[in-house]
């Protein structure tokens, strides 16, 4: 289980990007983190990835404290970030350098055919389309079989059609080994399609605002009334999170708290 315990991040310049964020995320769960700009969602993800250290609180995965990139945690960025000097197959196998060559090649080949790019193994990254490159990035992140896969707005740079295609595809791949997925997004549709649970954050300082469980069976029909209802609920939560007169859920920042007492 991934436990976020009062995670906070204050940058050296004094910006308070994230404040006492707590959540428990179960193995195999898909969690979407959504929120307005500056709500600290990417900061949180980078802290879980071990790329930036949190300045307060603790992140633990199965009891292991995360302070640096962890072998059980993979990450997919907004851009594919493929290494231009490696062909597609070598990019996918980048995280498997410790394995014997034969096993590595087998796993890469399987991963590539899983993302539908078996015929692109020998191609250079710059010859791929945006959607293809992001598929390669997904394969690269999944091939070491992470227990937790972090996705930082992974489809936001793609056109609407490719985005939908990759969202469905991601669920497909997730079903293979069922890693925990933590997805940062600003796309409400994407959050409702993918997530078991949506964490809505509010900005300045970034903190958790509302938690919305998504009880919809998969595959989800983007046109169903229930889907629409959930989308509206998330949108309402987002609107309220940006309205400064609405207090935080835990009430700690309620200015007029005394009035109730």
């Amino acid at each position: 289980m991934l436990v976020l315990d009062h995670v906070a991040k204050t940058y050296p310049n004094g910006v308070n990007a994230l404040e006492r964020f707590s959540a428990e995320i179960n193995p195999g769960e898909i969690v979407a983190i959504i929120g307005g700009s500056g709500c600290g969602k990417s900061t949180l993800l980078r802290a879980i990835a071990g790329l930036d250290r949190a300045s307060g609180g603790a992140i633990t995965l199965d009891g292991d404290r995360i302070v640096a990139p962890h072998e059980k945690i993979g990450i997919i960025f907004q851009e594919p970030r493929l290494l231009p000097w490696l062909n597609v197959a070598d990019n996918v196998g980048f995280g498997l350098a410790d394995l014997p060559r034969k096993e590595r090649e087998e796993r890469v080949a399987i991963a590539l055919s899983r993302v539908g790019l078996a015929d692109k193994a020998g191609v250079w990254p710059r010859e791929l389309s945006g959607g293809q490159a992001q598929r390669v990035a997904i394969a690269r992140a999944l091939v070491p079989r992470p227990e937790v896969l972090l996705l930082d707005e992974p489809f936001s740079a793609l056109d609407a059609f490719t985005r939908r295609d990759l969202q469905d595809h991601l669920l497909d791949l997730w079903a293979d080994t069922r890693p925990t997925l933590i997805l940062v997004t600003h796309d409400v549709d994407e959050a409702v399609v993918l997530a078991d649970r949506i964490l809505v954050m509010r900005p300045r300082p970034g903190r958790l605002f509302e938690e919305i469980p998504v009880y919809l069976a998969r595959p989800r029909d983007r046109a169903s009334p229930l889907f629409e209802t959930l989308k509206r609920r998330v949108l309402t939560a987002l609107d309220r999170s940006l309205d400064r007169s609405v207090p935080d859920r835990d009430g700690k920042s309620i200015v007029g708290e005394g009035m109730w007492w």
């Binding site: 962890h70 960025f77 087998e106 080949a109 015929d119």
Partner: protein, 281 residues
């Protein structure tokens, strides 16, 4: 078909692609040769028809005869060997020093702030200004010439390496970190391949400067070398010998540049993909 087999199946018909680009390559070489060859032929004809005596500007046939004479007596080989050895030694020293200092300055911003201003100031000194000092320090023989060439090679390599390291995409480095690479592994698997293209460019411009500086060094006092052939030709009034030496410089300079290109091509194939596509378009 299993996934493994699928990856082994070639996706494009490589030989035909290569043949086509080979033909285009040949065509572009021929196009580039048209101008010098026709100029040479025109001059040859002009001298042949008696329009000019060709004494100060010898026609190609005389230059080739001179070259052949020099080659036959073994002089050409001796001078070429002397020059090439100087360039090789100076280039090696300059590359090693430029790479090391450039890497240090690129990697640590503290050392960059300490080193770079001084080196930039030294870089702006015209090369030939060093010659008197180097002759005092290293004597009039090989050492001072090699030192001058090394200085010439050092700066482009230093600048190239430092700039390349500073220019490495932070996002790509982060990919390495996300896969738990650090220290030597990060350098080997991310930084080195990322800086290689600009490194090769800086090696090539360093080599070009090396050839420039070897001429400067040999003009200022040498008893052998292609630069000596230039001076000797001037003092004895043999323009054909001067042009022959210039031709030799051109051929060897181009050949050494080509050597670097060929030696590094396998590591830079990923860049070609773009060039080829641009050429196709």
């Amino acid at each position: 078909m299993t996934a493994v087999e699928m990856t082994l199946t070639p996706t494009t018909d490589l030989p035909s692609v290569r043949r086509r680009s080979g033909a285009r390559h040949l065509k572009s070489i021929l196009l580039g040769v048209v101008l010098p060859v026709s100029l040479g032929a025109a001059w040859e004809l002009a001298v042949h028809l008696g329009w000019s005596d060709g004494r100060l500007v010898p026609p190609p046939s005389v230059i080739f005869t001179t070259l052949w004479e020099l080659a036959r007596t073994g002089e050409l080989w001796m001078h070429t060997k002397a020059t090439v050895l100087r360039v090789v030694a100076g280039f090696a020293l300059g590359v090693v020093a430029g790479t090391l200092v450039g890497a240090i300055a690129g990697y640590s911003s503290l050392s960059r702030r300490v080193l770079d201003p001084t080196l930039q100031a030294l870089r702006s000194i015209p090369s030939v200004a060093w010659v008197p000092l180097f002759i005092l320090w290293f004597g009039i023989f090989e050492a001072s010439k090699v030192a001058l060439i090394a200085v010439g090679v050092f700066f482009p390599v230093y600048l190239g390496v430092m700039g390349a390291i500073l220019g490495v995409d932070r996002k790509i480095v982060e990919v390495g970190r996300a896969f738990r690479l650090s220290g030597p592994a990060l350098v080997r698997r991310i930084l080195l391949p990322a800086v290689l293209p600009s490194y090769v460019v800086s090696l090539r411009s360093g080599l070009g400067l090396g050839w420039m500086f070897v001429v400067a060094a040999e003009l200022l006092g040498a008893s052998e070398g292609l630069g000596f052939l230039l001076i000797d030709g001037q003092q004895l009034g043999k323009p054909a010998q001067i042009v022959a030496a210039i031709v030799a410089f051109a051929v060897i300079g181009k050949a050494t540049d080509w050597l670097i290109e060929v030696a590094t091509a396998p590591f830079l194939r990923w860049q070609d993909a773009y060039g080829q596509q641009a050429g196709d378009a």
